[in-house]
Amino acid sequence: MFLVVSTLIKLVVFALVFALGLAAILTWMERRQSAYSQDRLGPTRAHFFKLFGRPFVLFGLLHIVADALKMFFKEPFIPKDADRGIFRVAPLIGFCTSLVILALVPFGPDLVTERWGVIPLQVARIDAGLLLVLAVGSLGVYGVALAGWASNNRFALLGGMRASAQSVSYEIALGLTIVGVLIAYGSTELSAIVNAQRGLVHGFLPNWGIFIQPFAAVLFFVAATAETKRAPFDLPEGESEIIGYFLEYSSMGFGMFMLGEFIEIVVLSCVFVTLFLGGWQLPYLIGDTSSSFLFGSLFGVNNSVAHALDGMLVFGIKVFFMCAFQLQVRWTLPRFRYDQLMRLGWKTLLPLALANIFATALLTWWDPTLKILGHVGVAMILMFVLVVVAGPRRVPAESHGH
């Protein structure tokens, strides 16, 4: 009974409040952030009343409410020749699979209580967690493919086809990049991976995946972005060419797809943070069972609950910044061409992921304490930074104008 109640509470707090709330805010962030990146203002119009002669827009946050209201009150239109059952179910599939993945992500350190014992801040602690993430994650594409098929519209079908092909191609790379992490941390259970990232290498470098496996982190991020169908891999949507798999959807059907996309961003961030950014951990500040962070230093409270709250806060902040980074990448890069997408997936990511596995295996076999792996990782990061900062720049060709 207690297990059910605690699981339900965790589900509500993490999946519904945190993830869905963040997804809702992301809809606003996406617009506002892209606007500011492109020297625009973004949404500033929705308001209920005026304050000092100007509409009270609350930075445009009210657009979330306006959008939700609009979505709810629009006509849920189903095309005449659509497969009605599948058409209705399809948006839910992607949405639900995303939420299932969240159940496997640890969002805080274990809560040690006297009365109820150890409560893991993770909805489901499953030994094969990472494999389940991959398995369930690949189911998400069914929603898209079925939506495209059930719409009985050739453009929507094209979108669904593109989504499945893309998903199949990048899942391989995705799975292979994670192997490096598995080798390094020696577990497929996500909270174990987080715990394995505790501590410092050489006394200063956090034992995070991003430092131990920088290459895998990049490959994972790229492949996972392609899995979530976000720009520059948004070919299934491709609004300038085929409008996308949700072409025939209106009202909340479309809303589910849109919200699902943002949920996927949150999920991807959660997984990435868990695998490569140390999960809920913050080196120097949050220790094994106690924390010298927010509650520890400021409020002088240093028990397990404070520790858990600190961990959740850190996790939330990390996830937020990963989401923001994903949005920024989206508003920086143009969409790939389909052949480029396929070439990148099969001919670049796949060999590189394999190479990463061999390199990681070799270095881990040589030094199981991961020190050498850390050396190599830091060296790669430094080299990358050097190339970005000091690398050759192409002089822009003289534009001829109109």
């Binding site: 500011y36 990146s37 492109q38 920086t332």
Partner: protein, 184 residues
Amino acid sequence: MAIRVRKQVEFSFYEKSYLPEVARGVFVTLSHFFHNLFGRRATRPLQTLRYPYERRVYPQRFRGQHRLLAREDGSPRCVACYMCATACPAYCIHIVAAESPDPKIEKYPAAFEIDMLRCIYCGFCVEACPEDAIRMDTGIHTPAFLRREDAVVGRVDLMSLSGQAGTPPAFGAQNYREKKPAGA
């Protein structure tokens, strides 16, 4: 139209690896983002105004709604010479000339109408006017209309408008009159 052959750009290995350029691109958009988020309003790249609530200060030479100027006795300065109508590229000025009641003045506009829907606010009429009788210095936008007929603004309405605050009341006009030979 000249045909320009664009050379195929050859990418180096470094560029083909894509990631450093992506990082630079993200840096560019991020720098815009932070400039706009934290930069001072006057200097940030984002210069959009929330129009009805914020308005740009129009320069003195902003071409807004036209007005017709009057002589000291209140009669229109316009002599119905049709120079504005001739210069008008949109054919929006309609004048009916008539014998002026003042014997010193040859003719005056019995009707002077501007079709605001046709007007393109080029200011040619102002330049063409030899009497400085028409100006676009009211500093106001032409108001919205509900009916097509309302868009045709007549002489009385055009003369009832005043210039933008700060504009000299009869800029240059007096000088022009004085230079002309008396009695002309």
